[in-house]
Chain length 331, copies 2
């Protein structure tokens, strides 16, 4: 693996000059030509590890996500990647599996590899960013907020749960349940808060929380929660699923039970991934996943470029697409 010294020797210049050519600094055209020829001849690729060590800064951005198998997050990843690439950064994707220990490990790596910055969807609201912040590494939180005073890109989760529940009320369903993710994940709590507000206002239940299930933000979680709801003495006739994968799980169980929409109402906070359902059979709160990634990456790049304005939180809009208004069955 050719080094800058070998290129310098072959070109008859100093290593400093080679470095300058590689980095596009002022060098006389004749020497530059010599260097380029030598570099090509030796198949020279600059060693990024050495560059990073010297510059104290690498050209990679870490994107730390809780579930890389969730299309919501991969879609966000595409947004981050497109913006970062255009600015000359590469993106490494780290999967925390919602596990604070794995997350801590990856954040440590981001520090010790001198990465340029981090876009993070925190695994819990206890995520510790002190090290990163203390070292002045730019961080942008996406999807979920943190206890630290850093930039963030969020959506209005309460509003999402609210719209989802309201659209089912409007369609005439009378017993609207909710399945959501772990309590300590902000998006899970807020979305179910929105749902609770609607069913309470409608006076739908004596004890609304009897119709609320906490589970994991995964297909299995949605399945389990849905099965529990259907097994209730007085089961619901509709459900708000607080994320895309839970929505899939709920729909699987409903399909297996022969209860497809609109016989049973379903509204999902999030887009159903790879759906083959008839169009508009389920109400969807569309989440701007890719756009969140784009926005987060832009904010991060601004910080990397030295922007020191106070921390900002951007809240993106989400949009409800109601199921085609087939009225709910009147029992």
């Amino acid at each position: 693996m050719a080094t800058i010294y070998e290129v310098a020797a072959l070109a008859g210049v100093s290593p400093a000059t080679v470095s300058r050519v590689v980095n596009g600094q002022r060098v006389s055209e004749e020497k530059a030509a010599l260097v380029r020829a030598a570099a090509a001849e030796l198949n020279f690729t600059p060693n990024r590890t050495a560059r990073t060590l010297r510059r104290q800064n690498s050209e990679v951005i870490a994107l730390v996500l809780p579930d890389i198998e969730n299309p919501y997050f991969t879609s966000m990843a595409r947004g981050v990647e497109d913006v970062a690439r255009a600015a000359g950064y590469s993106v490494v994707l780290c999967n925390t599996d919602e596990d604070p220990a794995k997350e801590a490990k990856y954040l440590d790596i981001a520090i010790s590899e001198n990465m340029a910055g981090v876009v993070l969807a925190p695994a819990s609201d206890h995520t510790d960013l002190q090290h990163l912040v203390a070292r002045g590494r730019p961080i942008v939180a996406v999807d979920r907020s943190t206890r630290f005073d850093i930039d963030g890109v969020m959506m209005n989760n309460r509003q999402g749960g609210l719209s989802a529940a309201q659209t089912l009320v409007d369609a005439g369903y009378r017993r609207i349940a909710c399945i959501t993710g772990p309590r300590d994940i902000e998006t899970a709590a807020e979305r179910s808060n929105g749902w609770r507000e609607i069913v309470t206002r409608a006076g739908m239940f004596d004890r609304p929380d009897d119709y609320l299930r906490y589970s994991t933000f995964r297909v299995d979680g949605g399945r389990t929660a849905m099965q529990e709801l259907l097994a209730m003495e007085n089961p619901p006739d509709a459900v708000v699923a607080a994320n895309n994968l839970m929505g899939v799980g709920a729909l699987q169980v409903l399909t297996e039970t022969g209860l497809t929409p609109p016989a049973f109402g379903v509204a999902v906070v999030g887009d159903l991934p790879f759906t083959t359902l008839p169009p508009a059979s389920v109400s969807i709160v569309r989440l701007p996943a890719r756009h969140m990634g784009v926005t987060a990456a832009r904010m991060l790049l601004e910080r990397i470029d030295g922007d020191t304005q106070p921390a900002r939180t951007v809240v993106l809009r989400n949009e409800i697409i109601p199921a085609t208004s087939v009225p709910a069955p009147t029992v």
Copy 2:
């Protein structure tokens, strides 16, 4: 950011001793205790960039994939990640988008960051691995083979296409079409070869390839191809989709047309991601995505540990799950 020198000074030992403690080498217990205390006090994290530069080897593995939004690949990624993590390596995911230029960029980065090795699903059969091979970096190809003499983990693609087509023949369909990915992607070509073999053997068409469509390995690709097939003068009554996403696209179009299985037969080479279809309504050739990742990671780790045996190719089995045998409609 504390360095090894500061820790050494605080502990009253040499930097070499600190290094030895950090790396678990023989150090007297008293000095080790001193070092640990000092490290904790200063919140010391070893600088991986420096370590990598010195050792000429990092503890990260690159996983280079053509489409990070395809659950087939993210599932593979989980397999790689789990094995790699257990061995102390972290995995960085790189998305090439089936673009050879992006792929080349990431492979360059893998070299210049001194990564320990690469697991690669090549974007095309022209992928150039010369640099990597010349530098002796271990590489394992997954899903698709290369022109280079390296380890690989594949599946029997022709067999997959063959089983998918055969199961539709067995169910009684008479005009079985095929939609597949780009010609220059090995898996696309081989799976359609399997299909062609079956329909030819069955004497199903005068010119089988009239019922073959090449498109992208994405949902859109499946949609377009399916629409074209349905618009034919003499349309098919069943289709083999050569990958999971094309299968989704085809099913979307069929659903929108009111032609759901088994009215129209569908067999997919690959698992339908996040499906909400009634169980067993579509025939599926299950692909061992996660297992491929696990196998590839293990092979890579062996090479990283210095194994020099000749290159191996492992071919994993795939398994057909036929749709419940509702007979096809007899026209």
